[in-house]
Symmetry: C2
């Protein structure tokens, strides 16, 4: 590793800013279950009480948002989003308590991931740019 | 958190397999620098000695592969891929030693990330499905 470090020190731009970044989500039976897109959609539904309004705020079609929620609901025993039928805009929608709890869990998970990325970014810079 | 756990225990499918997954890459000045796609392309170039052959194996156009390499080369002081001009297939290509070293570093980083994902997957299952 010492040798590698020396080679890479010569080749990387010391003036530039390198960082380790990534994305994270939870899968259910190898299909997407809970990631940034769904979390954002759920938060908009929580604020607006409506899938169509939430979809508009995310600039996605109602159909796409509805499919996302439908798929999410099929992956749990009890729906994350409770749909109210009727009404001009296709009915209202509210989050179940468990959906809110899952958002909190996912946010805590994200913070641990951010910490991992920070440590790796610092390690990268230390390995390649610091002189001891 | 105790309360959250109880709600989520009721709502998640105990029979299903939940896992925490993700992707990881290194950025340079907030642009992609080193991730799975480029690593795979570099490995194919190393095996075949040619960008066009490497592109074929990845089922991407020569133009796209060339752009990927060109951008990568612009992000370091010395090129990662050394191009040899001429020849029927647009000339040969070889990896610099530093490119190989960076691949090794990225693979080690990936292993630490896999470990993080494993720990988080186990934590998720323990938090939501184990009865104490």
């Amino acid at each position: 590793m010492e040798d590698n470090r020396e080679n890479l020190k010569k080749i990387l731009n010391e003036s530039g800013d390198y960082s380790v970044v990534g994305s994270l989500w939870i899968e259910y039976n190898e299909e997407k279950f809970f990631g940034p897109g769904r979390i954002e959609l759920l938060q908009h539904i929580d604020e607006t009480g409506s899938i169509s309004k939430a979809a508009k705020e995310m600039k996605m079609s109602y159909k796409k948002a509805w499919n996302m929620i439908n798929e999410l609901n099929s992956q749990t025993r009890i729906p994350f989003v409770i749909l109210k039928t009727g009404g001009k805009e296709g009915g209202g929608a509210v989050l179940s308590e468990a959906a809110r709890d899952m958002i909190v869990y996912a946010q805590e998970l994200r913070m641990r991931f951010q910490e991992f990325l920070k440590i790796e970014t610092n390690k990268f810079k230390k390995d390649f740019f610091q002189t001891f």
